[in-house]
């Protein structure tokens, strides 16, 4: 796989999370979704974040993806503090630094596989010809070269998720954030998706997967276990 994730500084961490806290108010009762979470991610790492429901793993992913803001703490991607970015800068950062993969694929139903990959590049202002070329190349790489003109309704769950992965890597982001990417597919398809992510990681792409599925987590380089908004264990820190 030729994708190598751009902007990476091979020496420092590609992602640094520093003392992240996130508090929601449920009525008058404050709920600590994240409580002092810190860790670093190196370029090309394939990480899984696991933990029971409500442990804060999805909140953490949303904060890294700039979909949500922390109450306290900082997130650095490529040494840039994204938590300090203005609201108006968020779209550009998302385009350049982050690729999302969702549990329910979230492809646009009216568009073909090709157009679904293409749309991510539109917002970056890439000219139409180049977008088409890259979309076709990516779909061919993930083995869907013969499905470019198919709409999501004409594809299996696994195929849809592969299109979503192609869309996530289309802009060469620094990090791919995948929220339960195998949550809506069968066991066989799950293996195909995990293999694809592993392959991307081998090519230098940094990937963070949030999952319930320990079979998926075990295939990643590092497992961060969350409990009650805190990191309960991190195989990466054990390795250190």
């Amino acid at each position: 796989m030729s994708n190598d994730g751009n902007n990476g500084n091979s020496k420092g961490p590609i992602l640094s999370i520093r003392n992240i806290k996130k508090t929601y108010n449920q009525g008058k009762i404050p709920v600590h979704a994240l409580d002092d979470v810190s860790f670093d991610v190196k370029k090309g790492e394939f990480i899984s974040i696991v933990g029971p429901s409500g442990s804060g793993k999805s909140t953490l992913l949303s904060i890294i993806g700039l979909l949500d803001r922390p109450t306290e703490g900082s997130v650095f991607i490529d040494s840039m503090e994204i938590t300090k970015a203005k609201e108006s800068e968020a779209p550009r950062i998302r385009r350049e630094k982050i690729g999302f993969v969702f549990q329910h694929f979230n492809l646009l139903p009216a568009l073909t596989a090709m157009e679904n990959v293409d749309i991510a590049m539109r917002f970056s202002g890439i000219p139409g010809g180049k977008r088409k070329e890259r979309a076709f190349q990516l779909l061919t790489q993930i083995g869907l070269g013969d499905r470019v003109k198919h709409r999501p309704s004409e594809m299996s769950g696994g195929q849809q998720q592969r299109v979503a992965i192609a869309r996530a890597i289309a802009n060469n982001p620094s990090i791919i954030l995948a929220d339960e990417p195998t949550g809506a597919v069968d066991t066989k398809t799950r293996e195909v998706i995990v293999e694809l992510l592993k392959e991307l990681s081998k090519g230098g792409q940094t990937i963070i997967v949030v999952t319930h599925d320990m079979d998926v987590a075990r295939q990643t380089d590092r497992i961060i276990t969350m409990r009650d908004g805190r990191i309960a264990s991190d195989t990466g820190s054990e390795m250190k």
């Binding site: 949303s62 993806g65 979909l67 949500d68 779209p91 550009r92 998302r94 385009r95 350049e96 999302f100 969702f102 329910h104 979230n106 646009l108 009216a110 568009l111 749309i119 991510a120 539109r122 917002f123 970056s124 869309r167 802009n171």
Partner: protein
């Protein structure tokens, strides 16, 4: 981005079609009502042009309507310094049962002095009235078409007179001696006949409806109009400028009534755009959230949603203008065969209607678009 807008509209064909239909209906109303108002404006403009620069004198207290003045006042007006000449004119409805009289209000009979008749409209057949003519008439082009008259044909005049509690209708034939060309003014629907015969037929001897006074060269019409009012008792006089102003004011009222009804229809069409767009935005919560997660900026989402609304406005507007244009063209054909046209769909009206449709689409798309841009990507993506 434009392809995405088209794709999104095409995906919801029924809804898009109904919304466009709503706008088209509103704009159709704007074209039909506006066309009527434009036609009136044109008639008034041309009529006033043909009346040239005479000062109109009428009995005090009948501003806007048709009253009666004694013939003797003509002589009084003539004596006012600065008046070159003055003559009376008697106005009556050609068909008293059909109502009418005044601007745009049906066919009229003008009793005029033959030497003072309106000669700015050229003749297409026959001759003008001459002194000594009896029951002879010069008729406008619409009258000729409506009653299918040629020079030498007879036209029936009717007058209604009240006698005690009942009214008696008198009729009399009058011979057509001339037909004037189409002017686009009230004179197209007018029958001009000698004043004395008109007074006799209508039983209004020594009476006229208006007196027209021509200013002497070098006299300011405004001053002269005031002077006439001061010199002659119980009359009101209006200079050409005042007359123009008064008619314009009346036209504004007429236009306001007709156009506001149409605008109301168009606004309802606009609300249907708003409703459709709001529905479309809330249905696509996830889609907009996803686009934001993919790095779409507010302007991208604004462009898409407002583009959809604006495009529906354009298509609806063009369809409405086309439908209105076709209907008024057809109706004008029907009305012309019975007299005169009723609508003028001018380029100005078409452009205003189209701009109105687009503005309506965009304005009504603004709030839904704003809602779309406010969508939090995280909330949107959890929306299952």
């Amino acid at each position: 981005m434009f392809d995405l807008i088209l794709r999104s509209l095409a995906q919801r064909k029924m809804r898009t079609g109904l919304t466009i239909f709503g706008i088209a209906l509103g704009i159709f109303a704007v074209i039909v009502m506006g066309g009527m108002s434009e036609h009136m404006t044109l008639i008034v403009d041309k009529s006033l042009d043909l009346m040239a620069d005479s000062i109109q004198v009428q009995p005090d207290g009948t501003m806007g309507g048709i009253g009666t003045i004694n013939d003797s006042k003509v002589r009084q007006v003539k004596r006012v310094p600065g008046v070159r000449d003055a003559s009376g004119i008697l106005i009556a409805a050609l068909d008293p049962e059909g109502g009418g009289g005044g601007f745009g209000g049906g066919d009229m009979v003008f009793g005029v002095l033959p030497e003072k008749q309106m000669k700015d409209a050229k003749l297409t057949a026959g001759r003008y009235l001459m002194p000594g003519d009896g029951y002879k008439a010069v008729i406008g082009s619409s009258i000729a078409r409506k009653f299918n008259l040629k020079v030498g044909d007879e036209l029936e005049l009717k007058s209604k007179r009240l006698q005690r509690t009942s009214s008696i209708t008198h009729t009399r034939n009058i011979t057509v001696v001339g037909i004037t060309e189409y002017t686009g003014s009230i004179f197209d629907s007018a029958v001009q006949m000698p004043l004395d015969k008109a007074q006799k037929f209508y039983g209004m001897e020594n009476t006229v409806s208006f007196i027209y006074a021509d200013p002497a060269p070098g006299t300011d019409p405004e001053d002269l109009a005031k002077r006439i009012e001061l010199s002659v008792d119980n009359v009101k006089s209006e200079s050409p400028e005042q007359l123009r102003k008064r008619f314009k004011e009346q036209l504004v009222v007429f236009s306001l009534i007709t156009i506001s009804a149409a605008v109301l229809a168009a606004i309802i069409g606009g609300l249907s755009v708003m409703n459709t767009m709001l529905m479309s935005v809330s249905e696509r919560t996830k889609e907009f959230g996803l686009m934001k997660a993919l790095g779409a900026e507010r302007k991208n989402i604004l462009f898409m949603t407002m583009g959809e609304a604006g495009l529906m406005g354009i298509i609806g507007g063009i369809s409405g203008i086309a439908a209105g244009g076709i209907l008024t063209y057809y109706l004008n054909g029907v009305f012309e065969s019975q007299g005169s046209a009723l609508f003028s769909v001018t380029p100005r009206l078409a452009v205003i209607a189209l701009l109105f449709a687009i503005t309506l689409g965009i304005v009504c798309g603004t709030y839904p678009a704003y809602r779309a841009t406010k969508m939090s990507p995280m909330e949107a993506l959890r929306y299952e």
